[in-house]
């Protein structure tokens, strides 16, 4: 890479506004704003607002990337009639705005909120209400088709997967008090039971693919958890805990060595929604910048990678069903003004 001196010599470039193509550390004079500026790549991630969903909801499924995401299903507003409506709507995000496309076959929420799949190939499994569902639906980029059910019907389960031919479903809950450790693997046609989680739980933040996944946090028999388990394609192994316990957090990531979780419902100091974001590097969790609110939310959905993710929907602190979208950049390029 050319150094600053090799590229521009010792002169300071005079440019009206943001200087395109500036390398990290390269100084320019912004003649419009009358500031000396330079760019640097931050080592800390940040959230920015994105376009809002057309239909606010919690506990929806999600797939794709920050600029090509898919959101489907979910559950709407308790507290304002009609009470607790299941949603069948599917929306596509293009990096700026959400557009409605074809609906799910069966309206439901609380299926997997996993970050697996893409805008052209995704899977949605489990869910409730009215009953606990084992349904699986496959998305081909245009339509949802019902395919073979999970062996164990459940809701608030974790999920991971690359597309509609390969996925992993883990944990969840059957009825209140019947928290599951069961794990099932999808081969494109059927679900097969594989080795169970070490700690049964629901409301898991899950990410990865069928052979390389993370199950973080959740609601266990004793309350909210900070436990993380790593899936290597065969077994779950407990690894380092998150910094904060919580349930109903969103998650994003495509391998078990890099990802993030965000938001959720935390036990301490009091039961409350949180905006905390933690990133996973394969070994440890690090707390980074919070979501911006309103007053944070739980049951939101995530998609994307550790460095470029998206959070959408969820339930706010006064039970509002959120339409908000936030976009995560793991190492954004930031312009620094010398007078800052």
């Amino acid at each position: 890479m050319a150094t600053y001196k090799e590229k521009v010599g010792t002169s300071v470039v005079n440019y009206a506004g943001s200087y395109p193509g500036a390398v990290d550390g390269e100084l320019w004079y912004d003649s419009t704003n009358k500031d000396f500026k330079y760019n640097f790549t931050s080592t800390v991630g940040s959230w920015a607002t994105g376009g809002s969903l057309n239909t606010g909801r919690r506990a929806m499924g999600g797939a794709g990337t920050q600029t090509a995401a898919l959101g489907f299903g979910g559950n709407s507003n308790p507290g304002s009639p009609p009470y607790s409506v299941d949603i069948d709507k599917t929306e596509k995000y293009n990096g700026t705005s959400w557009t409605e496309v074809n609906d799910l076959t069966t309206a439901r929420g609380y299926g997997t909120r996993g970050s697996g799949g893409s805008q052209t190939s995704a899977l949605f499994y489990g869910g409730t209400p009215p009953s606990v569902l084992a349904y699986t639906e496959s998305w081909n980029g245009t339509n949802w088709t019902e395919v073979n059910d999970l062996n164990t019907g459940r809701y608030n389960l974790g999920g991971a997967g690359a597309d509609n031919t390969s996925a992993l479903a883990f944990g969840g809950i059957y009825n209140p008090g019947q928290i599951q450790a069961v794990t099932e693997s999808w081969n494109g046609t059927n679900w097969t039971q594989v080795n169970v989680l070490n700690t049964a739980r629901s409301q898991i933040a899950g990410f990865g693919i069928a052979t390389s996944a993370i199950a973080a946090t959740g609601e266990g028999a004793s309350g909210r958890l900070d436990i993380t388990e790593l899936w290597n394609g065969t077994n779950w192994t407990e690894v380092n805990d998150t910094n904060a316990d919580r349930s109903g957090a969103g998650a994003a990531g495509v391998v078990n060595t890099a990802g993030l979780i965000f938001g959720g419902f935390q036990s301490s100091p009091v039961d409350s929604n949180v905006g905390k974001t933690e990133t996973w590097n394969g070994t440890n969790w690090t707390e980074e910048a919070d979501l911006s609110g309103p007053v944070y939310y739980q049951q939101q959905t995530g998609a994307g990678t550790a460095s470029s993710a998206i959070s959408f929907g969820g339930e706010g602190s006064s039970n509002q069903m959120r339409t908000a979208t936030e976009e995560w950049s793991g190492s954004p390029v930031t312009t620094k003004v010398l007078t800052d």
Partner: protein, 100 residues
């Protein structure tokens, strides 16, 4: 005592309402009623409020807006049937206290 935060009311229009540069520079918190909290006595906080055409509110005014939103949500929750209130996903909205 000097205040830590300032408040404004602004509607989140989506993309660009808060960008990554702003998010790196200051901490945002949003509350019901389109109330936003940013650091007080902070140039970047002031610039962001100007950018989003936010209406600046005192902490007392902002608290009143948040209270009205929360109380409306609580009243709606209280009006539900016992069966609806017993739903495991349906918790009563909690009060929110803004910080100085």
């Amino acid at each position: 005592m000097a205040k830590t935060y300032q408040y404004c009311v602004a509607e989140n229009w989506g993309k660009g309402f808060i960008d990554h540069v702003e998010s790196q520079r200051i901490t945002f918190a949003g509350y019901p009623g389109n109330v936003w909290q940013v650091p007080a006595y902070n140039k970047h906080g002031n610039l962001w409020i100007a950018k989003v055409a936010g209406t600046v509110k005192t902490k007392t005014e902002a608290q009143a807006i948040v209270d009205a939103e929360v109380q409306a949500a609580q009243a709606a929750w209280d009006a539900q049937s016992d069966e609806e209130k017993a739903d495991e996903f349906n918790t009563r909205p909690a009060d929110i206290t803004l910080e100085d």
